[in-house]
Subunit: 86 residues, 2 copies
C-alpha cells in the first residue's frame, strides 16, 4: 500500500511536467490529480517495462527506471489523493 505523504516528497521531479498540484504545465502531458491509484501504478510500471513508446514515453521511461515498487505505490497514492483541478 502506498503512502501519499511519502509520495509527495518523491514527486519533486514529476512536478516539472505534471505541475505542483498534479495539473500538468502543458496540455500534451496528463493531469494526475485525482487519477485512479491503481491506474497510475499500472502506467508507471508500463513505462518502466518499456511497454509504452512514442511521444514523451522516452522521458517517462528515464524517470521511472530508478523507481522502486514502493516509490511507485507512494507516487500513485499521492497523486490519487489530490483534488482534480479543472
Amino acid at each position: 500500500q502506498g503512502s501519499s505523504a511519502d509520495g509527495q516528497s518523491k514527486a519533486a521531479s514529476c512536478a516539472a511536467c505534471h505541475g505542483a498540484k498534479g495539473k500538468a504545465v502543458n496540455a500534451i502531458y496528463p493531469n494526475l490529480a485525482g487519477q485512479n491509484e491503481d491506474y497510475l501504478a499500472l502506467a508507471l510500471r508500463a513505462y518502466q517495462k518499456g511497454e509504452r513508446s512514442g511521444g514523451q514515453a522516452g522521458v517517462m521511461q528515464a524517470f521511472t527506471s530508478s523507481l522502486s515498487e514502493q516509490d511507485i505505490s507512494d507516487l500513485a497514492a499521492y497523486y490519487a489523493s489530490l483534488t482534480p483541478l479543472k
Copy 2:
C-alpha cells in the same frame, strides 16, 4: 479541432469502462473527465499505432483501430470538457 458534442455521441462504447461521466468504473482504468485534450488525443493515437502494450492496451487498441482522426479529436474534446469527479 474536436467537437465535444460529437464526441459525446461517439463515447457510448467508452462509457463501459471509463464511466458515463468519465469517472472510471474500475480503479485500473483511468478517469478521463477533465483530462488534457491534447494528451487524450496523443494517448488514443498511441494505442491506435500500437505504441502501448500490456495491461488493457489490447482492449484499447481494438477500440481505437476504427477511429478516424476526427473521432479522436471529438472524443478528446468531449472528455476534456467534463468536470473531474473526485
